[in-house]
């Protein structure tokens, strides 16, 4: 299914393209000329690497153009649960404000919920010029259908150019549905957003291959340009209660009897942690040797008001539940402080935590890869270091 075209006359066989292909699709043939395999996805990563411009992708014929200049304004979906807005929503308001100012346009918030007007007012304090408020009992708890249908109608009616949602379970569930209805581009879990000089397009920077590579993606011909945004990447703005803004009330699209799903319950287990919200995470791996090992991590986490995470090894061994797993096949976290105890730091674990602001590693093995990404390290036995750290911090934080 390869799309890449290689000009065999121009190719010098330097091999520069081989190195950058994320899919390993390029190789040199017996004549030392680059050839491409079916593994090529047409991502274009190799194009700028070729010193002789021997690589190209086919020009895509322009489809029927949508009038992109009719679309303006930056939108943020404000996620709420239990009448509380998620902090990620306000982080996006901060970033959305910057993007809107860059584009010389307005910032709007979409608040869907029940008795959600206080959240709409908060959205204005956090930087919204305008809030679309849809307040209805059918929207009290998030469900894909009623939420997606409202956002689709709002987008059709008001035509925003950029639409940001949090890369939470709900945000990703919702964004995938909305972008499909509208037929527009959507990128996942962005860690950077910029406006491209000249084109004014949104450059969306997101990790792929478990964070091993970063892709910059744009959506040239469809609107809105949609992205889900990673938690804790953008700074939390300071709310200004005196800000003024407009609240526009809109009506729900689906009545309750046309909504296929019902949320029956939320099961929260004792000691269950919300890793996504935690500012501090104390995480344990194979070095804990058993489920009892997590007791000392819980003690440290309690002193710090943090949550307990785990590596895949510890989860697979059955020492702690999957909800705690950090890494490529678990959750991606970005706390202010990540304390890795007895975690060697395999690439898959790093994928879930390497963007934490500060990383502390406690491990017996001085060669463990975790030390390569840690800011502070203690080489030693976690069974003595962690309790000592708990005591030292308890004393300083005046906790009894």
């Amino acid at each position: 299914m390869s799309l890449l075209e290689i000009n065999r006359e121009a190719c010098t066989g330097c091999g520069a393209c081989l190195q950058v292909c994320p899919f390993g699709a390029l190789s040199l043939d017996s004549e030392n000329i680059a050839i491409v395999s079916e593994a090529c996805t047409g991502c274009g990563a190799c194009l700028p690497e070729c010193p002789v411009e021997a690589l190209s992708l086919p020009e895509v014929e322009k489809k029927e153009q949508i009038p992109t200049d009719e679309y303006s304004g930056v939108w943020v979906w404000v996620e709420q649960y239990n009448h509380q807005a998620g902090s990620i929503s306000w982080e996006m308001m901060g970033e959305g404000r910057k993007l809107a100012d860059r584009r010389g346009t307005t910032l709007s918030a979409c608040v869907l919920g029940y008795q959600a007007e206080p959240i709409a007012r908060q959205a204005i304090a956090y930087g919204a010029d305008r809030v679309f408020l849809v307040d209805d009992p059918t929207l009290e708890v998030y469900r894909t259908d009623p939420y997606a249908r409202i956002l689709v109608e709002l987008v059709k009616k008001y035509k925003p150019e950029i639409f940001l949602l949090g890369a939470s379970t709900r945000g990703r569930d919702l964004a995938g549905a909305v972008a499909t209805y509208i037929y527009t581009g959507l990128t996942a879990d962005c860690t950077g957003l910029e406006i491209e000089e000249g084109t004014n397009l949104l450059l969306q920077i997101c990790p792929a291959f478990g964070g091993n590579i970063m892709a910059t993606i744009k959506c040239p011909d469809n609107r809105p340009q949609m992205a889900t945004v990673r938690h804790h990447v953008f700074e939390m703005p300071v709310p200004d209660e005196s800000r003024e803004g407009q609240i526009i009330r809109e009506t729900p699209v689906l009545p309750e009897d046309r909504i296929a799903s019902k949320v029956l319950d939320l099961i929260v287990e004792k000691n269950e942690v919300n890793l996504a919200d935690a500012k501090i995470i104390v995480s344990g791996g194979r070095g804990l040797k058993g489920p009892e090992g997590f007791t000392i991590l819980h003690e440290l986490a309690d002193v710090l008001g943090g949550a307990v995470g785990a590596s895949r090894a510890a989860v697979d061994a059955g020492w702690i539940s999957y909800a705690h797993q950090v890494g490529q096949t678990g959750r991606t976290v970005r706390p202010d402080l990540y304390i890795a105890c007895g975690i060697s730091g395999a690439i898959q674990h790093q994928a879930g935590m390497r963007t934490s602001k500060v990383i502390v590693a406690i491990n017996k093995d001085p060669e463990a890869p975790i030390f390569q990404i840690a800011d502070y390290g203690i080489v030693g036995d976690l069974f003595t270091v962690v309790p000592a750290l708990t005591r030292a911090l308890k004393r300083r934080l005046n906790k009894t």
Binding site: T169, A179, A215, A260, I347, L393
Partner: protein, 266 residues
């Protein structure tokens, strides 16, 4: 009962190494595997078939080498497999992929459940599952960690979804699309019989001509997004400061001081 499982063949990122000089991925000799989350999707479909009877069909869109992923799914116990392979499909982003897969699912015909993995470990988007559900206008239940009950007579399903705050219990109607997390089950290994069957089975290959698709909506042409640049993430700034001390107690004291002094812990 008919369950369709959408899978993707991906490079085994556990085998991916980083070239320390250039900071690029070393892909040489990296095997292709079924996306790990998709193996849980296959397993869940097989378990439901074992309980209720019926059929499991596995489908993927990809290069011809993706046949090996489909054969592995058959070796695990899937009944049928279909490969979508056409140069016209190449360069598809999640929108065009979901569109193409949904058209193929329409061609397959009646189904009760569609299973996908939570996300693929190469693109890490998790967008194709919701895209397929929306294209087919069926309910979607994402991040499912348990199928609590299924009632094919009344066409209802109850699942637990792993959300940030805990496990959300949701009831929905069938047919629906489910994306699974790894907590849902423990995938089985292929059996000898299964492997034999997978070697004999003829897997149909469908091209764009076999599907009722709008040619403007498939492949690169149908994809709203464009990759502009691929780069390696910036390394974490600074070196690791190893805290030395005569005892664990002393090391812990120094670390605690530093974390407080630098306002990492407030």
């Amino acid at each position: 009962m008919h369950a369709i499982v959408c899978i993707k063949q991906v490079p085994d990122t556990t085998e991916v190494k980083i070239d320390p000089e250039r900071g690029t991925l070393i892909r040489e000799g990296v095997p292709s595997i079924i996306n790990p989350f998709d193996t849980y999707a296959i397993e869940e479909a097989l378990r439901i078939r074992e309980k209720f009877g019926g059929k499991v069909t596995v489908i993927t869109m990809g290069p011809s080498q993706a046949l090996s992923a489909l054969k592995e799914a058959i070796a695990m116990g899937a009944d049928e497999a279909i490969l979508l392979n056409d140069r016209e499909f190449a360069g598809a982003d999640t929108w065009a992929t979901a569109y193409t897969l949904s058209r193929a699912i329409k061609k397959i015909g009646e189904f009760d459940l569609i299973f996908c993995g939570r996300q693929a470990i190469d693109g890490d988007t998790g967008q194709t599952g919701p895209g397929i559900a929306t294209q087919l206008q069926i309910s979607q239940l994402t991040y499912v960690c348990r199928v609590a009950s299924l009632d094919f007579d009344n066409k209802t399903i109850e699942v637990e979804r792993l959300v940030e705050e805990g496990r959300e219990v949701v009831k929905s109607t069938l047919p629906c699309l489910i994306t699974v997390v790894k907590d849902i089950n423990q995938p089985r290994y292929p059996t000898i019989l299964g492997i034999r069957r997978s070697q004999k089975v003829q897997i149909p290959v469908w091209t764009s001509k076999d599907l009722d698709v709008n040619p403007d909506l498939i492949g690169l042409k149908g994809s709203p997004t464009r990759v502009v640049k691929i780069s390696t993430p910036p390394p974490r700034a600074g070196e690791c400061q190893i805290i030395e001390g005569e005892s664990a107690e002393q090391q812990a004291e120094i670390l605690a001081e530093k974390l407080l002094a630098e306002k990492i812990i407030i």
